[in-house]
Every structure is written in C-alpha cells, then in structure tokens.
Amino acid sequence: MISDYELIMRFVKGEQSCFEHLIHRHKNKVFAYISLYIRDQALAEDLFQDTFLKVIQSVKTGKYYDNGKFISWVMRIAHNLIIDHFRRVKQMNTISNDDYESDLFNSKKLSEDNVEDNLVKNQIHKDIRMLISKLPDDQREVVILRHYSDMSFKEIANITGVSINTALGRMRYALINIRKMMDEKKISLTVN
C-alpha cells in the first residue's frame, strides 16, 4: 500500500488523483469525528469539506512535515476547525448546538433487514447518540476519536493536547458515565 506521505508528495508534484486517494482512505475517520461532535448535519458536512480543503492549502504551502502521522495531523485540523466554530458561535451568542436534530448515524445496510429490526436498530442508534451527546465535551471527544475515528490513545493525546494518561482517564470516566446513564434510563442496547 502506498504511504500517505508518498501520496502527498505525488499530489504536490501534480498528481491530483493522489489526494482523492487520501480522501477515500481517511474520510470515514474524519467524518465520524466531526459529525458526532457537531449535531447540525449541514454544518458537519461543511466542516468535513473545510478540513480537507485546509489540508490541501497547508500541504501546498509546505506546512506539512511528515512524521508518519498524516491522519493525526488531519484530525488536529478538524479539531481546530470545530473549536473555531464554537468560539464563533459563543461570540455571536445566538445558536445553541442543541437546537439541531439530525440523523448522524448511517446504519449498516438497514434496508436488508425487516422493518421491526430497523426500528429496533434505529432506536439503539438514537440511544447511543443520546448517551454520547450527554457526555462532557472532553470525555465525548475521546470516545469519538477512539471508537469512531479509530485513533490510538497516543494520537488522541496529540490531537487534544493532553497527556496519554489524561486521555485514558477521560475515556474511563466517559464509559462509567455511559454505564450510569444506561442504568438510570434503563436502556438496554443490544440487537436481537
């Protein structure tokens, strides 16, 4: 498999398709992170595109130095764009992130199952989304990065700017909180 760095170098030299290859390789991780953090789907899509556009801009201006962690760097850009967004919203003081309701989860091949299964799965997805959204920001971020963006704790620590121990601690608290909420709300999340 061609490395990320080689694809970037070839893109810089003019091979447009190499960046498209990078997008296909990493889009799920980036999108999962943004769309679980930003509940407004349209905004999440904008930020998803902005992230890759910013990556291109930085690569073209020579701001990317390879250390074998291209995806961590991309996630860091996504992280900063999200923070910028919330700063802007806070300054404007007009929009609450909770005002939006959208379907963030694209479930796996729902059409292949029967209606009842779909309903159960949809409910489970909604419950999981609700549980994640109720977590404090720092804990939510670690859960999303670990489980939906498949980042290691070393990478998570790098992206969020905390120590590995802190990231691990946040994950533990997040999971304890999820379990607690499930008990309180008597939620059972199993298919079948």
């Binding site: 447009q16 556009l53 989860f105 479930s107 704790f153 691990l168 999971l175």
Partner: protein
C-alpha cells in the same frame, strides 16, 4: 536430574508477542476487559459520509486545481 527449562513453558521474545492492532496504553490501563460490553454497543453504529458529500469535495478540489 533433568536440565532446567526442558519441561517448562518455552520462553518467548518480545518479537513473538503479537501486538498489531492493539493499543498498548489502552491495554495497560485495563479499559478493554472492564468495558467490553460498552465497546460492543458503540460498535453497533457505523458513521460514514454520504457519497454525495465525498463527490462534492473531490469536485471542489478538482476545480481548485
């Protein structure tokens, strides 16, 4: 008297331990066994960008040249 080690578990080197796909920090912290049921739950959802969104992004990039 038998020489030591013949009947005991053979030693393995660090290279023999397969750690591919394992986050050693997570493993050392003991999160996985404690919360495995929650991990299974979280894995039930798969979040992927719409094909339309990816195409739109690629189109934008092509236009930028």
């Amino acid at each position: 008297m038998k020489p030591m080690g013949l009947n005991s578990t053979p030693f393995i080197t660090y290279q023999d331990i397969i750690v591919d796909g394992i986050d050693l920090y997570e493993d050392a912290f003991g999160i996985c066994p404690e919360f495995s049921n929650l991990f299974d739950m979280l894995r039930q959802v798969n979040i992927v960008p719409d094909k339309r969104l990816t195409c739109q992004l690629i189109e934008k990039i092509r236009k930028q040249g």
